[in-house]
């Protein structure tokens, strides 16, 4: 199954939800566009994680990546 699904706006939403900590760390470790967000927006203990990225926008079930 793909890690990403397209929403109605054509943007990529993560398919693994909000608790897929290890996987989003792996994705972020390979992502050249990762930028850590402000410290009060961080949710993961591992800094390099999609969940901590400035370009993620939370949705009801997961997040959209604004750089995909």
């Amino acid at each position: 199954m793909s890690e990403w699904s397209k929403n109605e706006l054509g943007q990529y939403e993560y398919a693994g939800g909000k608790e897929d900590w290890e996987k989003v760390e792996q994705i972020a470790s390979l992502c050249e566009k990762f930028v850590i967000d402000e410290e009060d927006e961080l949710v993961s203990d591992e800094e390099r994680s999609c969940y901590n990225c400035r370009f993620r926008r939370w949705t009801k079930s997961a997040f959209v990546c604004m750089r995909r």
């Binding site: 410290e39 203990d45 939370w58 009801k60």
Partner: protein
């Protein structure tokens, strides 16, 4: 008089800054002698699709004791600063509540809690702003920034929501062990709670983690901890991951 200020998170996509903007505003209030500000807090809101795809579902807030004669100057300054940090597609908003002028704070608090659970439209925020003691400013875009700004004010007013900006530094930093008594005496922390929301006694020992964040509970600066499963120290400061509920 006491005021609560809420600012919608309207940062540029690749810019930083919502937290920095609110910190700058609190510093300005203090430096210009308009009053004394408390530490800003970040509040999570409902991730509505319209907001989720473009911006963060968070808003910032702080409380302050300000001299009444400086209110107009403060508002003008805040509006200009927030506008100048936005972009053409941002929907920024500012909200200010003056509790002593409000008939009823319960309606605002109810509104604020609902913004965490469901979608609220700007008409509802505008209707709230007609009530005495509430002032809102649509600063850019479609005006939806007032929804989050007003929510942040209400959530801060509850005294039980949000995470404070900045990190707590105590002793030698990470690994330092302090009693609850020392933590309270040597920092702005007012209480220490475990993740079951039970208060720790003053003689309990806590190991400070790498990034120590403070949350707002019971209207107090609150340090959250979890058990180490050891005799000493029995507690460790909660991690970023654990604190994501705030």
């Amino acid at each position: 008089m006491k005021i609560f200020v809420g600012i919608d998170d309207s940062r540029r996509l690749d810019g930083g800054g919502a937290g920095e903007i609110v910190s700058l505003l609190t510093r300005t209030i203090d430096e210009k002698g308009w009053g004394k500000s408390a530490i800003p807090s970040r509040h999570r809101l409902y991730p509505h699709p319209d907001t989720g795809y473009r911006k963060h579902n968070t808003a910032r807030s702080f409380s302050a004791e300000v001299k009444e004669q400086y209110m107009e100057e403060l508002i003008d300054y805040a509006c200009v600063m927030i506008k100048s940090n936005g972009t053409s597609d941002s929907n920024s908003g500012l909200a200010i509540a003056v509790p002593e002028r409000m008939d009823n704070t319960d309606e605002l608090i109810d509104y604020a809690y609902r913004t965490k659970e469901t979608m609220i439209n700007s008409d509802e925020a505008l209707a709230m702003a007609k009530k005495p003691g509430l002032y809102i400013f649509e600063l850019s875009g479609n005006g939806k920034g007032i929804i989050g700004a007003l929510a942040a004010v209400g959530l801060r007013m509850t005294g039980n929501d949000g995470q404070f900006r900045g990190k707590l530094q105590l002793g030698t930093g990470e690994g330092y062990i302090a009693t609850v008594k020392e933590i309270i005496e040597k920092s702005h922390i007012e209480q220490v709670k475990n993740m079951d929301f039970e208060n720790l006694g003053t003689e309990e020992s806590v190991r400070m983690g790498e990034k120590v964040k403070v949350v707002l509970l019971d209207h107090q600066y609150t340090l959250m901890v979890f058990p180490t499963d050891r005799q000493h120290p029995r507690w460790q400061t909660s991690t970023t991951n654990m604190l994501r509920i705030f």
